[in-house]
Symmetry: C2
Subunit: 84 residues, 2 copies
């Protein structure tokens, strides 16, 4: 989708929109659980109606295939929150 | 505690330390639930071992008693995550 940008050839940054705080909050919880399951931990910024994620592979201090796979999985989770 | 600072006479900013991502993640969920219950919504930045909170009262674009009460409640929640 159009959510993600590669920043400084170093990390992915993506911003997801939500209807309210509740949905942004639940999404944050879901992607935090994903992060723990995959042992790949982004920075997550939760605010009213919006979640911003920064993600890279710390071991190589840059982007790895894993980051793009995680981004795609987050997109699919976010689809569940889309307004009807 | 020493967590919180008043920034620009406008908002509170506090950073909480945790042992790992899991605890930071669970704490984020707990304070998000508190925010919904009190209908007072901070910005929350979750990363490995750390959660940063920015909070103010949007209606007055500044600090109100509610912000300080919420900050104290977050401190008490954080106490449950303290290393033994």
């Amino acid at each position: 989708g159009d959510v993600w940008a590669v920043v400084d050839e170093h990390h992915l940054e993506g911003t997801y929109a939500f209807e309210d705080f509740r949905d942004a909050h639940e999404f944050t919880y879901e992607i935090g659980e994903l992060a723990e399951a995959e042992w790949h931990h982004p920075d997550i910024h939760l605010q009213w109606g919006e979640v911003t994620v920064e993600m890279w592979t710390h071991k190589i201090d840059g982007l790895h295939k894993t980051d793009f796979v995680m981004a795609a999985r987050m997109d699919r989770i976010h689809d569940e929150y889309a307004p009807d």
